[in-house]
Amino acid sequence: MSVQMSFRSELIELLPSLRAFARSLAHNPAQADDLVQDTLVKALANVDRFEPGTNLRAWLFTILRNHYYSQLRKAKREVEDAEGRLAARLAVRPEQDGSVDLEDFKVAFQRLQPDHREVLTLVGASGCSYEEAAEICGCAVGTIKSRVNRARRKLTELLGLDNEDQAVFAETPVLQDTASA
């Protein structure tokens, strides 16, 4: 029983980050919490498949994102909507001092494709290592790294931050795929 108790308390501790991860995938807070609820139901139904002492956060994040993508596949229309919105250029204005309003940032972020939102949140905000992110997404570490770069470039573009550079550096490619931190 004590294993289950510690599982449960660890689960409760992880709820805030699980919600934050869900919010980066779902398009609204209610859908995000639905995802969290479904994840909890699945996690508790499969609790015997979890090896105590291994990474519970990665396990929960994996359940959540797999569930999200299976729902997304079912709702194809939603994908088309997202693509349509991505195709439409953003109305977010670049700020001259290089900062952006947090709400503008959220709007731009939601216009990213799901796997880009996912990888930026995992690596850029949740504190996951590239290795953990690869485990969660079920792909190679190298894939995560290049996806992060592409996602960051896309987000820079959606935020309109590349516009001022493009004006000045019209002849040079903007935001090359450099690994400089």
């Binding site: 289950q4 940032f105 450099t178």
Partner: protein, 70 residues
């Protein structure tokens, strides 16, 4: 007076200055994205967990207790 305000203002017409600025703005964009990502994430993670989620957990505990050895 003007020189006192900005004595080392980089020239916009200088090619080298442009290159430096390009690299600097790329890493500035990275930093900006990182900062905002964390802000958004921490904002949600800092919210109290909604009752409906805690209630679900409590319900599932009851089920487990009925089915378990307790």
């Amino acid at each position: 007076m003007e020189t006192l305000v900005s004595p080392h203002k980089p020239s916009d017409t200088d090619g080298k200055a442009k290159k430096v600025r390009s690299g600097a703005s790329t890493s500035a964009h990275k930093a900006l994205i990182a900062r905002n990502l964390r802000m958004v994430y921490d904002q949600v993670a800092g919210e109290p967990v909604p009752d409906r989620i805690l209630e679900l957990l409590a319900q599932m505990d009851k089920k487990t207790d009925r089915g378990g050895a307790q």
